[in-house]
Symmetry: C2
Subunit: 152 residues, 2 copies
DNA sequence: CTGGTTGTAACAAAGAAGATTACAACAAAT
DNA sequence: ATTTGTTGTAATCTTCTTTGTTACAACCAG
């Protein structure tokens, strides 16, 4: 199985906030339209991002905004906030290896540190990308699109 | 969601082959007992490992053995063989982002290269671990267990 | 107080993983 | 040639997870 789409959705949400917050109020309905995902799902994700202190959202008034400087939020922060993998473990283990078998009862001893290394490599890379990078690249591609439309 | 337990199962299978092949015939029933997973599931995984040229298994005769030198099989080979993530993509994308929204229709341009980097970091780490490492550590932990039992 | 919004509960729908049963294909031993 | 033990695979079931959907209370601003 893959990592939940909540992660790419959350990034999409930040890209929208960065791009549109001066122009529109970025509500769950607005985001639902852009992502083509149900507004309740969006609100759940917004709630998780808010819980992690990454964005501000409020009842009544509505509209999401980023809560910290963009270069201080990494993809890893977002990944952790939306709780993509169970218990934070990337790898799923078969549940009850036999305690009668020497390999079965030691498989975690044998394997866990290796899986931790793999997961750490992935998370380090996530930590190296910030929302500032995201904003810069979003602007780049939107500008390219605009220029292409003008036939340059 | 997490990465399918087929991966940890496949590693468990190799640990069993390494440990027991001189003593027992390592059949799908044997492995089902050690992993506590249904033999049909084991046979499916054995089939994938065989398809990737990592092990030998045959009808009738039965019993799995490793097809290549242990230091020439990496965790990445195993990971790829058992097809853990759809289309080889670690991240799941929301399916139909709006083409009306500038962000929606560019989200893949913006994001794909970053996700590729993250995935590559993880796969490089997987590639750095071999079945030889697995065998060495398996022997280490089984020996530790034996010594502990003798009260050393 | 009205309108628009979030937060959340409850349930439905869809999809995927793994379990299970059943059986044909096959090889080796006798 | 038959028996035995095994793999390969189809078909179906159960369970779990994700996502969608409906509904509505809580809330804020004008």
């Amino acid at each position: 199985m893959q990592i939940s789409s909540r992660f790419t959705l959350a990034i999409h949400i930040f890209a929208c906030i960065n791009t549109f917050e001066d122009e529109y109020k970025v509500t769950s309905d607005f985001l639902a339209e852009s992502t083509n995902v149900n507004p309740v799902i969006i609100r759940k994700i917004l709630g998780q991002l808010k819980g992690a202190g990454l964005i501000n959202v409020a009842r009544g008034t509505g509209g999401a905004s980023v809560a910290k400087p963009l270069n201080q939020i990494t993809f890893l922060d977002v990944y952790r906030a939306v709780d993509c993998v169970e218990n934070g473990n990337l790898f799923h283990f078969h549940e009850n290896p036999s305690t009668n078998c020497p390999v079965g009862r030691n498989i975690h001893h044998i394997l866990d540190d290796k899986l931790v290394r793999v997961q750490a490599a992935m998370e380090n890379e996530l930590a190296s990308i910030t929302l500032e990078d995201l904003k810069r690249d979003t602007e780049k591609y939107l500008l390219q699109e605009k220029e292409a439309a003008q036939g340059k």
